[in-house]
């Protein structure tokens, strides 16, 4: 690398760190709701959103697999049962990256609180349960953007199965029928959810999820979440998220207002 290029890169890195540092206290918080199917994440996310809003916070929500660009592609392929584990992973990674760049980061930069109903940990748990190598899956989601707090809604496989069965028949991919080779959706779900929970438990330890006992009453869980949130701390972007923010801003460190204007 030439001296000029090196100096330019150093200058760019210095500007980036300054930008991130200046935004640290102004930026919003990213709070993630993770857990197996029917663990009550969405109910709690909605209750928590209402409470935050009543406290005067500007809050936005983002759901798994909801990018207007990629979601229709995923839905069409899911209906045709044409996805294997690798393209399933890649399409969800594209959907996630698209939402991170166009929804999550602009909102955080503008000082809004973002509540994510599932985050990349969903992909890590499900793709690992499908037999994919975790290193490869992590790379598809790199550079990782670390949330401030992850609430993990812990339920047993039996509870998840019972709640799912009470509401509907699990769909083909939800039941993991693409990898279990089991014709009966509920039986397949039973086999698959055990593996997903196993992966979640490993992730919960490593990524320091805040565990919520999702077998408890809705009200008890909500009270616990409020308490945990108030005791939680803002993660330092400078320490954890510089690479992901740099990737988002692009090589010219384009001012985020340009993203927000869209």
């Amino acid at each position: 690398m030439g001296k000029k290029t090196e100096a330019k890169r150093d200058e760019s890195n210095r500007r980036l760190v300054e930008l991130v540092r200046a935004q640290q206290e102004k930026r919003g918080l990213l709070i993630v709701f993770e857990g197996p199917e029917a663990s009550g994440k969405t109910t709690q996310r909605k209750l928590f959103k209402t409470w935050l809003q009543s406290e005067g916070h500007d809050v936005v929500s983002t759901s798994w697999n909801s990018s207007p660009l990629i979601n229709p592609l995923i839905q069409a392929r899911k209906m045709a049962h044409s996805l294997g584990p690798e393209d399933y992973c890649l399409l969800h990674a594209a959907d996630f990256r698209q939402r991170l760049e166009l929804e999550i980061l602009p909102a955080l930069w503008a000082g809004k609180t973002v509540l994510a109903d599932r985050y990349l940990f969903t992909a890590l748990a499900r793709d690992a349960a499908r037999g994919l190598d975790l290193d490869w899956v992590l790379n598809a989601y790199a550079p990782l953007f670390w949330p401030d707090m992850v609430f993990y809604f812990e339920v047993s496989g039996e509870t998840s199965e019972r709640r799912v069965a009470a509401a509907k028949e699990p769909k083909f991919y939800e039941a993991g029928q693409d990898v279990t080779d089991i014709d009966d959706p509920l039986e397949s779900f039973r086999a698959f959810i055990g593996r997903v929970i196993h992966e979640y438990k490993a992730l919960a330890q490593i990524f320091q999820f805040v565990t919520v006992d999702a077998e408890k009453s809705i009200y008890d869980q909500h009270r616990a979440i409020r308490k945990l949130y108030l005791a939680g701390q803002r993660r330092s972007w400078e320490e954890w998220n510089v690479e992901a923010v740099s990737d988002w801003l692009g090589p010219n460190l384009q001012v985020p207002e340009a993203h927000l204007a869209q």
């Binding site: 294997g84 990256r97 992590l138 698959f192 490993a202 992730l203 384009q254």
Partner: protein
């Protein structure tokens, strides 16, 4: 945080048996008494491949299509059973164009994740089945075009090589002669991946310049050729 993911990887390695496929465990392990299908059995193992895979790389979709057809024609003349695999066989990019154009705001990473998705489809439904039957498949474009695009867009090489690690190495890699090096793509954005990606990036942000991008992709392919990673497509295959 890198140290955390490193720890995670180490923990996972300690509980995971040696890998068989590149991105899949040798067997989806039975951790809770559940039966899970072995995904690795679907992967092509180079030692068992009967046919050949020829990659053709370049920056213009129409040139790649033309070159692939020409190579298939030559192979047919030499009585070699062959076929071509082209970009967007899965219709991923075509379907994206059908959506609302205001949603077509994309970054290089998103484009490459989708390019890799299409490549998974091509490998699964076109390339590997044909190779297993002893045919020669001409993949135009293949992995190196994606990597050259990513490098030209400023993405780390390691991310790119890891992303495409599912794709088997081609037995031979050629590049088509580049016409009008200094200009951007004049063809329609549906003509090829790089035309599509160039148009989508320019439409997404004023920071992208299609001519500059193409010229950097060509530089990447020049470097690949200089390192003998591919050679110019000549009369001999």
């Amino acid at each position: 945080m890198p140290s955390k993911t490193k720890r995670l990887r180490e923990e996972r390695r300690s509980e995971t048996p040696p890998e068989k496929g590149k991105n899949q465990k040798s067997k989806a392990k039975d951790k809770g008494g559940e039966k899970v299908k072995d995904n690795a059995k679907d992967k092509a193992e180079p030692s068992k491949i009967a046919g050949r895979l020829i990659a053709i790389e370049g920056t213009r979709g129409p040139d790649l299509t033309e070159a692939a057809a020409e190579v298939v024609k030559r192979l047919s003349k030499a009585k070699v059973s062959s076929g071509a695999s082209r970009w967007d066989a899965s219709n991923t990019f075509y379907e994206m164009k059908l959506g609302k154009s205001k949603n077509l705001k994309v970054s290089p990473r998103v484009l490459l994740l989708l390019y890799a998705t299409d490549l998974v489809f091509r490998l699964k439904w076109e390339i590997q089945p044909a190779i297993e039957q002893g045919m020669t498949v001409v993949a135009a474009p293949y992995v190196e075009t994606g990597i050259a695009f990513g490098r030209a867009a400023g993405l780390p090489r390691k991310w790119l090589t890891d992303l495409f690690s599912f794709a088997p190495k081609a037995s031979a890699c050629y590049r088509v002669k580049e016409k009008k090096k200094k200009e951007a793509w004049k063809a329609k954005s549906t003509d090829g991946f790089l035309e599509f990606a160039g148009a989508a990036l320019v439409a997404s942000s004023a920071g992208w310049d299609a001519a500059g991008l193409r010229s950097r992709i060509i530089e990447q392919l020049d470097e690949l050729e200089a390192a003998k990673g591919c050679k110019k497509l000549g009369k001999k295959i």
